[in-house]
């Protein structure tokens, strides 16, 4: 990587070091190092400030479901992230399950089905979904979508209620995990689509034309040439989407009617995610409250960090193969 870069970027002629060069070059390097420092700072400050509450906590932070952290100085706080972590993973997984197949379909549509001239415009329209602020998604979800979805939930619960996920009685307000998951799915659709589309377009022309020349239909060409080649890209894109869904705050905070329980019933109110819990609890936090919320944020930071690094690794590996 480094060797190719130094060959394309020519070195300035050797000579005496000009003062301007030294200042400019060091400023540039300093900015880069500053970014590393900021990231290290994020981790360091979260750890330092969460220490206070974690050391006062009387319950096991990782296995407790209650959140009793807003205590006075003489009381003992007891809180844990078990329910929150479960809710976070459930919401993100639900969003991923809904969004990934649709995103792959859209990526295929833009890459291989849509008319050539329209393709970039259509890609731009899908990107518009990413431009809409999350708080507007939340408003749309709570102010419009949940009412529209309630009859559908009723139907789902009537016919598929024997599956625990869809068990009734359904929430009459529609402010459920299912609604939150659907809105999250819409929000992560553009990123999965963008990355899958890029990888699909990288499929060597020869592979595709060979398949078509052998008489394959378009679907057979996609199944034999495009999908095997693009699979790591789709997985990487889905994981980036997962990372975004895990950290998304507003849509969940506004839509979900929260409860700190571990419940698999998507159509009933309950569950809560880490991010939404922080946003909702922060204004009322007293005592060890803020510090405890920072500890929850640290858990979220760790989860998203692992997911994102794994996703980057998968996508980068594909890039190495295709170049």
């Amino acid at each position: 990587m480094t060797t190719t870069d130094s060959s394309t970027t020519p070195r300035a002629p050797k000579g005496k070091r000009r003062i301007g060069d030294v200042v400019f070059g060091n400023t540039a390097r300093g900015s880069g190092i500053l970014i590393l420092a900021i990231l290290a700072g994020v981790a360091a400050f979260l750890i330092i400030q969460s220490f206070d509450a974690l050391s006062a906590n009387t319950a096991n932070f990782l296995t407790t479901t209650e959140w009793d952290a807003n205590t006075d100085a003489d009381e003992e706080p007891a809180f844990g992230v078990a329910a929150l972590a479960f809710g976070t993973v459930l919401a993100a997984a639900l969003a991923l399950v809904i969004a990934t197949p649709i995103a792959v379909g859209i990526a295929l549509f833009i890459a291989y089905y849509a008319p050539r001239r329209l393709a970039s415009l259509l890609g731009y329209i899908v990107d518009l979904l990413a431009a809409i602020p999350s708080v507007v998604y939340g408003l749309w979800g709570i102010g419009y979508l949940v009412q529209e979805l309630t009859p559908f939930y009723q139907w789902l619960s009537d016919y598929l209620g024997w599956i625990p996920l869809f068990a009734g009685p359904i929430s009459t307000t529609g402010r459920t995990m299912m609604s939150a998951g659907i809105v999250l799915a819409v929000m992560i659709l553009p990123i999965i689509t963008a990355i899958s589309r890029d990888v699909f377009l990288q499929v060597p022309r020869g592979h595709r034309e060979a398949a078509l020349a052998l008489g394959a239909t378009r679907w057979e060409m996609i199944r034999m040439a495009v999908l095997p080649f693009g699979r790591p890209g789709v997985i990487g894109g889905a994981m980036l989407g997962l990372g975004r869904a895990l950290g998304e705050t507003m849509a969940v905070a506004m839509i979900l009617s929260p409860a700190l329980i571990i419940s698999p019933h998507l159509l009933q109110s309950g569950n809560q995610t880490i991010a939404a819990h922080i946003a909702l609890q922060y204004p009322e936090a007293t005592g060890h409250g803020v510090s405890a919320l920072i500890a929850a944020g640290l858990v979220l930071f760790a989860i998203t960090l692992v997911v994102n690094m794994a996703a980057r690794y998968v996508v980068a590996r594909r890039k190495e193969f295709s170049e």
Binding site: P10, V135, R218, G297, M309
Partner: protein, 364 residues
């Protein structure tokens, strides 16, 4: 080439008539069949729904798509063959996926437009919520617009120099482990949840200014944590597009490296960099969670001072109105959402125009 194509017919003459029977044109549905079938199915489904008295747009769309998918697959399986039927099935599914993505986009834009337009007028944009009780039929978003502009500008002031200089380092100077580390961690930084950025600033401010200290500057710092990686990514891409020959020509004339970057590389890439920065601004201007934690969510008066007192912003305004939950609050929230969407769309649109009209003329 010719020999290979001829081989089957010459090698196995018995297949001759069979191949002629299955020529490319027989046994395939005519081109107009698919659109005609779609129109027909739509008409029939609409008719049935009207007769049964349960017409609704979602039901109509679902009914049409399902019926069309089944019919086109069956028709193709009967007239063409199994493989083509599968191909048509997948084609329908892929088109449906795209249509499915358009549903929330159009529904959201339409809902925000129709609900927001009622309250969005000169009055709403020009007054604050100062002295307005939550249920009173008055008040506007002026203070939130002020806050959004102040916080976003300050965040840009922090992020653009850092982001741009880092991109210059990565493209023009960087080599070795430091470059690899920065590239990797900028990627990691793009994935930081916005609420964690907010908590980081909360922790930072707690350490330096004591607890409960919320002001606009804290919000701006939180936003710049989210904005810097986006600026780095887009600027880096644009700088890499600058042709190496331009740099070489400049060096050949004896221009120092830093002047080459400032006078040759940056002007060439400036359109793309501007576009990237505007898109980054459009991204952070709608951020809510970090501002709720750092800039406060209860300011009602106009406040231009970033370093003193809580500061409202458009996204936080929407959020806090929804939390209040009355009909009038929702009206305000919808109108503010429309304002916010218009600002974001404007940024997007201008960014596109900039990249189209001010793109470098490389003399192709």
């Amino acid at each position: 080439m010719t020999t290979t194509t001829n081989k089957p017919s010459t090698g196995a003459p018995g297949d001759g008539p069979d191949i002629a029977d299955r020529s490319l044109l027989t046994g395939s549905l005519p081109r107009y069949f698919a659109p005609a079938l779609l129109a027909g199915v739509a008409a029939v489904v609409a008719g049935l729904l009207f007769v049964s008295g349960s017409f609704g747009l979602p039901l109509f769309a679902i009914g049409t798509v399902v019926a069309y998918t089944v019919l086109i697959t069956l028709a193709s399986a009967r007239v063409e063959n199994g493989r083509k039927a599968k191909d048509r099935l997948v084609t329908t599914v892929v088109y449906t996926c795209f249509g499915l993505a358009m549903v929330p986009l159009l529904s959201l834009l339409w809902t925000v437009l129709s609900m927001g337009i009622e309250r969005l007028d000169g009055y709403f944009l020009s007054v604050s919520m100062s002295g307005v009780t939550p249920t009173m039929d008055a008040g506007g978003v002026y203070h939130a617009i002020v806050g959004t502009i102040a916080i976003t500008l300050f965040a840009s002031l922090i992020s653009i120099p850092i982001g741009l200089m880092t991109a210059i380092y990565l493209v023009e100077y960087g080599r070795g482990r430091l470059k690899k580390a920065i590239t990797f961690f900028v990627d990691v930084m793009t994935g930081i949840p916005s609420i964690v950025a907010g908590l980081f600033v909360v922790a930072l401010w707690m350490m330096f200014f004591g607890p409960g200290n919320t002001n606009g500057a804290a919000g701006a710092v939180a936003l710049s944590v989210l904005m810097i990686p986006v600026v780095v990514r887009s600027s880096e891409e644009m700088l890499q597009l600058v042709p190496t020959q331009l740099r070489e020509a400049s060096y050949a004339l004896g221009v120092p490296k830093w002047l080459t970057i400032v006078k040759v590389v940056l002007p060439t890439a400036i359109a793309g960099i501007t576009t990237g920065i505007m898109l980054a601004i459009a991204r952070v201007i709608g951020e809510t969670a970090p501002l709720v934690l750092t800039a406060g969510s209860s300011a009602v008066a106009i406040n231009w001072d970033l370093f003193n007192g809580q500061m409202m912003s458009l996204p936080v305004f929407i959020y806090s109105q929804v939390r209040m939950g009355d009909a009038i609050n929702y009206e305000r929230a919808w109108a503010a959402a429309l304002t916010l969407i218009l600002i974001v769309m404007l940024l997007f649109f201008v960014a596109r125009l900039v990249s189209r009209f001010f793109a470098p003329k490389l003399g192709r």
